[in-house]
Symmetry: C2
Subunit: 431 residues, 2 copies
């Protein structure tokens, strides 16, 4: 009982027999079967029956699941896919390096090339330190702030995510000790008076403030900084001798190749990169200003794979191509085209769809239902028809996405809104 006729022929919803069979095997040898965001018990919050669990191949803007269902992918591996899956230029650079060496007893000099490129590219980077996880970079940043200031406390912004190390988890999470989070202070984003009070109250004991460049948290509309916010935070940190750490793991290189702090018109002391740094090849980086370089050198911090050469080659190719494409401008354009179209499609069916955050990392919410279940239903109908969105996490745009992909996405989204509308005759239209 669609109120608005679909613009294209109805699609046949996907089924997931092979994914389910593989998941049954997974459950017996892997905790949760699949863990993290991709896990069926948390993260995506797509009803399981509408959820592919395993992929089989990927290329450009798309991946195919184990049942060979095809998806236009708006999650991009939760960030790493920034140029398109299996980008030929990045893969060729990685393959060339792999024919020489990867993990060796002493590092390849390509590590220096990559550090020089980052220092040339990122406005707040006087140096780069490489690791593997985004959390390796945020942990090093916090340790550096503490070592440099000989203070203990770290200010977090409510709604934060900085990885899974105990220091950045919550007190009530399993396996986390109260001692490990005892020096954490919390304040709301965009609330300068509260930050001023916190800084005054703990004068001389705050080592660092760690924050994403804007609030791209889960289960809530994403929030951009108010005019002057970051400049005021920068001034407060300077006045109190607090190290300002920007966690650009998620947004990095999608807003501005010079760093998301540069995008918002301020300069971090330390900035953490990971996901988009090498188009899926495994590397993260902490960059920062000259005055903190010796402190980083003084720490005991290394790992088995941290100087592997192939990800450095991939990272150089990725940043080079992102510059050639002026990718952040492209992401802004594609993300705006998509979210504008999705919002219009929702309105045609009497729904209010809110798109928030930067268009390159758009967050979606159907505002007509506070329980968010309506939103989950709509996402599920999209996923079952080949558009991989997620329910309560920001999405990601990649450079392989085309306007044709967006057109097809809008057709499927339109059909999905119609289906949700039909199955909820009790809902009032918002127009």
């Amino acid at each position: 009982m669609s109120l608005v006729p679909p613009r294209t022929a109805p699609t046949t919803p996907y089924t997931f027999e092979k994914s389910r069979a593989a998941f049954d095997r997974a459950l017996s040898v892997i905790p949760s079967g699949i863990y993290g965001h991709q896990g069926p018990t948390e993260g995506c919050y797509i009803p399981q029956t509408s959820f592919p669990l395993f992929s089989s191949r990927a290329e450009g803007s798309r991946f195919w699941d184990l049942d060979d269902n095809e998806y236009i992918d708006y999650m991009c591996g939760y960030g790493p896919n920034v140029l398109g899956y299996r980008d030929p230029d990045v893969d060729a650079a990685a393959a060339r390096q792999a024919k020489l060496e990867d993990v060796v007893t002493i590092p390849s000099a390509i590590m220096v090339d990559f550090a020089e490129l980052l220092v040339d590219t990122v406005a707040s980077a006087d140096w780069a330190f490489f690791a593997k996880n985004g959390g390796d970079a945020t942990t090093l940043a916090v340790m550096t702030a503490r070592a440099a200031t000989r203070r203990k406390k770290i200010v977090f912004i409510n709604g934060f995510y900085h990885g899974v190390a105990p220091w950045t988890q919550k007190l009530d999470y399993p396996g986390v000790l109260e001692e490990e989070v005892a020096n954490n202070l919390y304040v709301d984003f965009n609330d300068l008076p509260a930050l001023e009070r916190l800084f005054s109250e703990h004068r001389g004991s705050i080592a660092g403030l760690i924050a994403q460049p804007y609030m791209h948290g889960n289960f809530t509309d994403n929030t951009l900084p108010e005019a002057g916010y970051w400049q005021a935070v920068r001034a407060l940190c300077d006045a109190h001798g607090v190290v300002l750490i920007v966690d650009d793991v998620r947004a990095g290189f999608r807003l501005d190749l010079a760093g998301s702090d540069h995008y918002f018109g301020f300069k971090a002391d330390l900035i953490c990169f990971c996901k988009a740094l090498a188009n899926g090849y495994n590397v993260s980086a902490l960059c920062g200003r000259e005055s903190l370089k010796d402190t980083v050198s003084s720490l005991s911090y290394t790992g088995s794979y941290w100087m592997s050469a192939v990800p450095f080659a991939a990272g150089i190719a990725t940043l080079t191509k992102l510059k050639q494409l002026d990718a952040p401008t492209q992401f802004q354009r594609l993300g705006t085209e998509l979210t504008t179209g999705l919002t219009s499609a929702a309105a045609e069916h009497g729904f209010t769809l809110i798109a928030s955050g930067a268009p390159a990392l758009f967050y979606l919410r159907i505002a007509d239902d506070d329980s968010l279940m309506l939103h989950q239903e709509w996402v599920a109908e999209c996923v079952r028809r080949g558009v991989f969105l997620t329910s309560h996490h920001n999405h990601f745009i990649n450079a392989a996405l085309t306007s044709a992909d967006i057109t097809r996405t809008l057709e499927i989204a339109h059909e999905a809104f119609g289906i949700v509308r039909s199955s909820h005759p009790e809902l009032e239209l918002t127009r």
Copy 2:
């Protein structure tokens, strides 16, 4: 003035002009230039003038530095190189997978294949959880022990190394808070009475005991477990409800493909793998017993690259080939052949060279000089002639190493002992 004539023509020591030039560049854009073990300021403790700083290519048992000097490599990238650099079978499996997908929004089913292989291979593994760093696995193990027992304290063995997370660093290390190590208890290896006292003293508050399968620490002869030690530790952990965590990151798959706990005749509750798991492809794993699986599922623990498919393909190829080769037996034979030869060569020049630990991960020390400087000199002369040893860290054997490599190594080691002897006429001979 060599007292024993060299058995081969003298070699010309290497020089490192290109490495030094690259290091000068590195110093300006990377903290320390090179960090960790590979760094010139710590780790290897080879006099810098005898130290290549950057590699250019690697194959089999060898790598070449930036000045094209060739090395027989006994460090194996500090462990990951277990089959030989650029092993053709592993690289082919990785390349096949890379043509399909690597990091995608949902995992590849090859993750399940790898977990099943580990469960089949590792005696104490009922399940596997994959991450990136060895430290990701040790951190997850400690969090799991705390969550499962609802206790706080962790017992460490003096001389431990479990990665660089704050919880496993020392109180006096920069960037580490007293709160983060406040629940750590310490005991000596092989000291059962002390462990019994510690367990009694802290009855009901110890969550876990984390230990390497034997003490392969730095700056000291490596120590194997005394007969019955591990069986007694296992019984004590059972009696006190303490989770027994084996950190097999360094020794794993070099002593026994079923796990180093299996090698020493006991069964861990949790066992951590990394280095040798995929011949340099970037993956680590926590394995463990069924009773802890749900606890692992309950933790908030994931990362951007943790389900990347290429390292899983490489890991499957690596474990399969290690089994085909019966690699641990080969490592034992090659390591024994090498260390026996080195000890004899030392004796010919009047030095006492002590080889300790498992032959597959041999640790060397010239015992005639408590300052260890004589040992550093000898290592430096070996490195400058194409045998890459290190000074105060265990070494690693890989499956590409040949008896011809060992013969050449012994020739160079012999020459190096002669040079050190000549430059120290003041030293008394030990025979």
